[in-house]
Amino acid sequence: MWEQINANRWRSVVLTASMGLLLLLIGYFLGYFFLDNAIIGLILALVVWGILSLIAFYQGDSLLLSLSRARKIGRDDNPRLYNIVEEMKIASGLERMPDIYIIDDSALNAFATGRDPSKASVAVTSGLLAKLNRDELQGVIGHEMAHIKNRDVLLMAICAVMLGTIVILAWYATRVLFFSGAGRRSSGGGGAGGLIVLAVGIFLLILAPILAQIIYFTVSRKREYLADASSALYTRYPEGLASALEKIAASPVQLKSANKATAPMYTINPFREKGRAASNLTSTHPPIQERIRILRAMSGASLSDYDQAYREARGAKTGIAPASALALDKMAGATALREPSAEAKTEEKAPQKVERARETSDMMWRLNKYRTVNCPCGTKLRVSPEFKGVNVKCPHCGRTLSVR
């Protein structure tokens, strides 16, 4: 299991390093054109990156917590939440109990922060506490604990700062280029060679921020999948996280205090837009339905069980980690799934009630000659008898559906 996480981290590090290379290239180009000295540009880029990194490293978590208006709680303020965090701390083998924060917001979300496992915090919204049962909350906390244990918070902070630096540098450079014409080198008559370098440089300035963003999102999503897998392993109960994700996805409330910078820290992307499938390259989180599908397809709770479900769900050849790393994990015999907790069992009746209400409402619509179109994204469209068209657009995912 640990070997596996190391192997996965190595891939993330390679991606992060390529982002660093991009940063250096930009610095080099900036120096070459504006300062007549490529090395100075390189150093400048590193200095900007270094300063931003230091701020993120030492102030990042307190900044994030105060930005989201989180308040710290102790054992007596919410014994259930405290207990669940402690359970997951034990299951993950974390040495120190993380600080627990509650964000007073009816949206359903949670995040973890802290640059290393000995100085970590988890924050959950009050909406999450109210809506989830014990098993579901355990799954979500397990996911956050995995982010702490796998040191994702640090990795994502490094990536985010690098992305920020690249964007800032590229933005300034393009502005300078457009307002002062080309740099000194090319105006000094560098000839054809100079022109080519200029072309490459401009190309780089436009492309680098986009590339960096894609790398950033790739790293982020990889870590999300791994955190899901680890959560299932800790709780031995992937259904808990799956049904929590389902509730979160169904909740229409958006988090008020989140912003673009803090988005990757959350369990699910706080900026879900209705009517757009959030499964493209520019998304920090994997599509929520896919995460649920993978978790539900698991036949055991081990990482290799998750890996198998992941491959099947995505039709992908490469899983969350190299097979050699997962072989060790398979030897752990005691990764069978456990039973739901007593609290979750008594809650079971509620969905049945919803099911019945839905059937009744379907019947009512039919009586009024409305047609019902089921969209693959899970939305039910009611089409009025007055509607004469053949196709209708799903307001949720944007697919065009035939009414007949």
Binding site: P79, N83, M331, A334
Partner: protein, 188 residues
């Protein structure tokens, strides 16, 4: 001549480094395993401490459950007295305690007043969570044992383990499910 000496010397240094790193890794794993074992102890003790409180709260409400209550107290005292005994005897006593407790919590359904008692609800949460924590610490302990045993058995770390007398860790057996399930309560 010198070249040969350099090569042999280099190999010796590398072997020595490998030995140190592997040995330290093994020590780290063993400490982790022992630490995980201690965690189980912490949680079991917590359960011993919670039970007298529970009895105190329940006493006023449960008039007809003397036997069930006594069984819990007896099982608790037995488990506590075996706290320094071997893993097998201990595991059995703890399971008996878990069984007696769940029997007691199952009859709570018949006492609506008790179910409304804030103090009882808090205790119930603590007990349920302690039960989970015992489970999770066993789970983590077994994971640590697995990792330790892998190192002790697999080449090349097994060479270092054999040289320094490292032994395999012992798994904390997962309890039989029927013992942990809440017993059916029937009233005749």
């Amino acid at each position: 001549m010198w070249l040969a000496i350099y090569i042999v010397g280099g190999i010796v240094v590398l072997l020595f480094l490998f030995f140190i790193i592997t040995y330290n890794g093994l020590i780290g794993l063993r400490n982790q395993m022992r630490n995980a074992w201690a965690q189980i102890d912490v949680q079991l003790k917590r359960r011993y401490d919670l039970i007298p409180n529970l009895m105190e709260t329940v006493k006023g409400y449960m008039k007809h459950e003397r036997e069930t209550m006594e069984a819990v107290t007896k099982a608790r005292n037995l488990a506590q007295s075996l706290a320094s005994a071997g893993a097998a005897a201990r595991s059995k006593a703890e399971d008996a305690l878990g069984g007696a407790l769940s029997k007691l919590l199952a009859v709570v359904e018949n006492y609506p007043d008790l179910k409304a008692n804030q103090n009882f609800l808090a205790l119930q949460e603590e007990l349920a969570s302690t039960e989970n924590k015992i489970g999770f610490s066993r789970q983590y302990y077994n994971d640590s044992v697995l990792r330790m045993n892998n190192k002790v058995q697999m080449f090349p770390s097994n060479v270092v383990a054999a040289m320094t007398g490292f032994k395999m860790g012992e798994f904390f057996e997962v309890t039989v499910t029927e013992e942990r399930e809440a017993p059916k309560v029937s009233f005749t």
